[in-house]
């Protein structure tokens, strides 16, 4: 039965099928059979990206006949999402980079390959900052190697200091607090002595606790020290300054604190080496100084991204060679000079090539005093975002007294400790 309603139907259906078939054919994957292909996922986005890109190209060139590394770069938060999904089906990348604090849970899930092998053949354990090295060893085996290493220092705006009659950065805690007050004024054009971030940042508040001899947790991770007298004292003194003298805006994320310093609305900021290029480009007249010393002696915070290898990777040897190569002196020097980060090696402080970027040496010198925040704790993320940050914020917003908020946080934290 011929009917005009059916006339072009078959033709259109066939067309649609053809188009969909064409679209669904994936692009041809290239591959040389003799080459080992390594996948490397990391979160080195933004201005760091070109540096890491060049580094990976160098490795590929040096190993052009045997190993080829292909990178997948995305923001850290997204990287953790994707890693989770990929590990769930056993499709993790050969090499992944992520923040040190994530290591315990991935190791416990049996997803990371031990690399003691690499440490006996090329990776120099002695050259790795001690606190970092300690955190890389779990249950007697090494599970990661450094990708980068950073310490925090006190950035200070020389122009704003001079205007307030101060000629140099504070060296003691007392000076720091006094200067912060002098540098703060409200009114039509408010200015803050310091920009303290409390979330989405490399942490600053723990340093304020450590300065005074307080702490977040005991060394053996058995008990929270948030309610220890020295911790309460430290937090109270800063909370009072914020409430009475408005020395800092409240509720800032890391990037916002950076904006305050970069916009010259805050005279001080505790920050890492990554900020130097941005501030220099913005023509801020600044310098970095060691975090002022409190009763506990010199102390600051360190942060590290590490390299790990997938336990089920078919290319363990190649992956280890990449990881070892990354940690060699020339590569560490390159990363340092380009990014301003100190090298992840303690044996390079007198390296003349590093003198080219004065910041590198300055940050490197902080390594002996630098401590990690919540490293080695499986629940670190929950403790940080669900216990400590809300406590700090409730203090900043005057919803609770420092003592009450910290005691509550300590109870919550103790419930989360192993």
């Amino acid at each position: 039965m011929l009917h005009r309603c059916f006339s072009s139907r078959m033709a259109r259906l066939v067309c649609a099928l053809a188009v969909s078939a064409a679209v669904l054919i994936p692009p041809q994957a290239s591959g040389a059979a003799s080459m080992t292909s390594l996948t490397f996922w990391n979160g080195f986005t933004g201005p760091d990206a070109p540096t890491i890109q060049t580094l990976v190209s160098r490795y590929n060139t040096a190993n052009h006949s045997s190993i080829s590394v292909s990178q997948n770069v995305m923001p850290w938060a997204d990287l953790m999402t994707k890693l989770l999904a990929s590990y769930a089906v056993g499709q993790g990348p050969d090499v992944a980079a992520f923040h040190l604090q994530y290591l315990p849970q991935y190791v416990q899930a049996g997803l990371i390959a031990p690399i003691d092998d690499a440490y006996s053949h090329g990776l120099s354990a002695a050259a790795i900052p001690p606190d970092l090295l300690r955190s890389l060893k779990i249950g007697g085996h090494y599970y990661g190697a450094p990708a980068n290493y950073a310490t925090l220092m006190l950035y200070w705006n020389k122009d704003l200091f001079r205007k307030a009659g101060l000629s140099q950065a504070p060296t003691t805690l007392a000076q720091m607090q006094a200067d912060a007050v002098k540098l703060s004024h409200q009114g039509a054009n408010p200015q803050y002595g310091i920009a303290l971030a409390d979330h989405a940042t490399i942490p600053m508040w723990p340093i304020l606790m450590w300065q005074n001899g307080g702490d977040v947790v005991t060394a053996d991770h058995s008990k929270s020290l948030l309610a220890a007298p020295k911790t309460i004292q430290a937090v109270t003194s800063w909370a009072t300054l914020i409430a009475k003298d408005h020395v800092s805006p409240v509720g800032l994320a890391g990037a916002e604190a950076d904006s305050y310093f970069q916009g010259q609305k805050a005279a001080m900021e505790i920050n890492g080496p990554w900020a130097t290029s941005g501030y220099t480009q913005a023509h801020i007249n600044y310098d970095v100084a060691p975090v002022p010393v409190g009763p506990a002696g010199p102390v600051t915070l360190s942060d590290a991204v590490i390299l790990v290898i997938d336990k089920h990777s078919p290319n363990l040897a190649a992956a280890e060679s990449f990881v070892k190569w990354w940690n060699q002196k020339p590569q560490q020097a390159y990363i340092s000079l380009r990014s301003g980060f100190p090298p992840a090696r303690t044996d390079m402080t007198s390296d003349t090539s590093l003198q080219k970027n004065p910041f590198v040496i300055k940050f490197a010198r902080q390594a002996p005093y630098a401590r990690f925040y919540l490293a080695g704790l499986k629940n670190f993320d929950k403790i940080d975002t669900d216990v400590i940050t809300p406590a700090i914020q409730s203090i900043e917003y005057n919803r609770a007294s420092p003592a009450a908020a910290l005691r509550k946080a300590a109870t919550q934290m103790n419930a989360l400790l192993p």
Partner: protein, 312 residues
């Protein structure tokens, strides 16, 4: 139109009545399902099955990087019932929905009516209002948070010049959610306007002509013709806006991260936090199931209110 060639197996009379014999009815039902087959396949496999999996996860202690997943029954749900953070988030989500949906459905309506007239430059206006919908929520949220910063943001500066009181919107627990609501309205107005406009253009001119002959005023024409005939479109816009508001994530994640003091945290932000930052898929699934139930109820209510079964 030309008279058709009658098909031999079905009587002309039966076709004029619009009914088919039983054998034809079974075929009609089969044909109906065939129409829906591609969609039903995709939805069944990639949307429905995962939903069932989510329910399954919510009954276990489930993490994708854990090796075993013990069954815990209703424990997750019990924990949720006692979770003050969940109730707070539900409160925020409801506030956000109530603040955004009426505004983003009612405000575009007069604009759509206006742009249906032959105005000069209406193509420009349509494109201008639609632009927020076309852009990436995450990126525009970054732009808004920069504009809203008190001392550095441009908007704050302009407001100051106009002697408007300026607060640290995004860092003030009382103002952060309203600020995000404004961004939500900004993002959806143009989107809803375009859909309403499409609906208005679907109303045949003849109805308006007839009404004008009868002497109806513009206002009467709007309430007696436009509004009733727009009912299916209005239902659509309201339901989709409600569903989208209930699931709001991007601007919250980018602008405040749920803070300060959880004043802007919404249900999906909490789900993301539990599922992707704390790797607790079991608990995240529990929240998702409750969210799903709430939206199901709200949608059913709306469908009733709009009497969606009536197709006049």
């Amino acid at each position: 139109m030309a008279m058709p060639i009658a098909h031999a197996s079905v009587s002309t009379a039966a076709r004029r009545r619009g009914s088919l014999r039983p054998h034809g009815r079974a075929r009609a039902i089969l044909a109906s399902y065939l129409f829906m087959l591609p969609s039903l396949l995709v939805i069944g496999v990639f949307m429905f099955w995962p939903i069932l999996q989510i329910v399954w996860f919510s009954l276990h202690q489930w993490s994708f990087i854990a090796t075993d997943h013990p069954y815990v029954g209703a424990d997750n749900y019990r924990q949720l019932a006692n979770d003050s953070r969940f109730w707070g988030d539900l409160h925020n989500t409801l506030l956000f929905t109530v603040g955004v949906v009426p505004a983003s459905v009612l405000l575009p309506l007069p604009v759509a009516v206006a742009l249906n007239r032959p105005l000069r430059g209406r193509a420009f206006f349509r494109a201008a209002y639609f632009l927020p919908a076309v852009s990436s929520y995450a990126v525009m949220a970054i732009v808004w948070s920069l504009l809203l910063q008190p001392d550095i943001g441009l908007l704050s500066r302009y407001l100051q010049l106009l002697h408007f009181p300026v607060a640290d919107w995004l860092h003030d627990p009382s103002w952060a959610l309203p600020a995000i609501m404004l961004v939500g309205i900004w993002k959806t107005i143009g989107f809803n306007m375009v859909i309403l406009l499409t609906g208005i253009q679907g109303i045949p001119e003849t109805y308006y002509e007839a009404a004008q002959v009868d002497g109806a005023s513009t206002v009467a024409r709007f309430f007696r013709i436009t509004l009733p005939l727009l009912r299916p479109t209005l239902l659509f816009v309201t339901v989709t806006s409600m569903i989208a508001s209930f699931q709001i994530f991007d601007p919250v994640f980018v602008m405040t991260g749920g803070g300060p003091l959880f004043s802007t945290e919404t249900l999906v932000t909490y789900i993301y936090h539990e599922g992707f930052q704390l790797f607790d898929t079991g608990y995240a699934s529990t929240i998702a199931c409750i969210l799903f139930l709430i939206m199901l109820v709200l949608t059913a209510v709306q469908l009733q209110v709009f009497r969606f079964q009536e197709e006049d």
